[in-house]
């Protein structure tokens, strides 16, 4: 959601809350609002916001892990070096398995995607932080950017043979034009689902946590809180555990789908 849309949402919800007289203690969608870091005024493309801060922190965290991890170059790795080697090996194996041996030269791109999304998701789990990947703006750039790159790569490597991606040679000849239309539509839906999947998962998880957090202070305002508060705190803990898993799984899924689209660009045709 853009910052303008989010502001309207929050104002609208505040009005609704005032009208009905009983609003949630915390609004579940207010945590996604983009705010300036310093000063007042409108948000331009160059203002430091909480989104840019947390994206920069993700990059700093990645640099710390990988630069200091590979400094020692010990044959028997220590802890930080182990983490770096495990991440490298995991993503390299994924790229080679899915995209083939000539896909391995795109490993730096895929590794950057994976590590950035993983770190941004994980850092967003710190209390009081902001998750840049929960915004469709960030994930759409990642998804559409990768889609444009893969399409251009497919045409550069294969010329017009790239269109063989849509022409199913296993289907009967009558059906092939219809299937080609369906395949083209599903090809253009790929970046949409690629980006919405990540943004939706992260936003949904954080919004659910905020909804339970809104019920948690009930013990302060009514006696039913004796039951509601412990249940809410347990629910927040369970959802938090799920969110840690989702952070990793969504980074993995984004990356492996990126590898699948890369393979389609390098070796089109069924």
């Amino acid at each position: 959601m853009t910052d303008v849309a989010t502001e309207e949402v929050v104002e609208h919800a505040a009005e609704n809350g005032a009208e009905h007289g009983a609003a949630l203690a915390f609004h579940p969608l207010e945590q996604f609002k983009i705010t300036r870091l310093f000063g007042e005024g409108p948000i331009e493309w160059y203002t430091p916001t909480n989104a840019t801060l947390w994206m920069a922190l993700a990059i700093v965290a990645i640099l710390v892990v990988f630069v200091f991890g590979s400094k020692g170059r010990a044959l028997i790795p220590g802890r930080l070096q182990s983490i770096g080697e495990m991440a490298y090996g995991f993503v390299y194996k994924m790229v080679e398995d899915v995209a083939g041996h000539d896909g391995a030269k795109f490993f730096p791109l895929i590794m950057t995607l994976f590590v950035f999304i993983l770190t941004a998701n994980m850092l967003g789990l710190l209390p009081g932080s902001f998750t840049p990947t929960s915004h469709i703006a960030v994930t759409a750039i990642l998804g559409f950017g990768f889609f444009i790159f893969v399409t251009l790569l497919g045409f550069a490597k294969n010329g017009m043979h790239f269109l063989g991606l849509f022409w199913m040679s296993d289907a009967p000849l009558i059906l092939r034009p219809i299937i080609a239309v369906i395949e083209v539509i599903s090809y253009f839906v790929r970046p949409v689902s690629h980006s919405i999947r990540l943004a939706g998962n992260i936003m949904a998880g954080h919004a659910v946590m905020k909804v339970f957090a809104a019920f948690a202070p009930m013990i302060l305002i009514s006696t039913i809180g004796v039951v509601v508060t412990p249940v809410s705190v347990l629910a927040i803990t369970a959802i938090y555990a799920l969110e840690v898993l989702v952070a990793f799984i969504q980074a993995y899924v984004f990356t492996i789908l990126a590898c699948v689209y890369l393979k389609d660009a390098l070796h089109p045709g069924h």
Binding site: M1, A5, E8, V9, H12, A13, N16, P28, L29, M94, D97, V98, S193, I196, R197, G200, N201, M203, A204, A207, I249, Q250, Y252, V253, I256, L257, V260
Partner: protein, 79 residues
């Protein structure tokens, strides 16, 4: 009933109906995982190589549930 009240009621009912889609995606995800489990118990040595396919299948099934959750959220808070 005035337009504003009818719109508010429509919003809430629509959000509740959209949440049914999230339940439907849970059936789909369970389907994928269950079939993988059945196959893995029949052929454990081949199961390791298909974990990537499992996660891709889970992601597709879950993404559609997320779309319907998104519709519910949009109706509740952004309409």
């Amino acid at each position: 009933m005035e337009i504003a009240a009818a719109a508010a009621m429509g919003k809430f009912i629509g959000a509740g109906l959209a949440a049914i889609g999230s339940g439907a995606s849970a059936i789909g995800v369970g389907n994928v995982a269950g079939n993988f489990l059945a196959g893995a118990l029949r052929n454990p040595s081949a199961a390791g190589s298909q974990t990537a396919t499992l996660f891709i299948g889970l992601a597709f099934a879950e993404a559609l549930g997320i779309f319907s959750f998104l519709v519910a959220l949009l109706l509740m808070f952004a309409v």
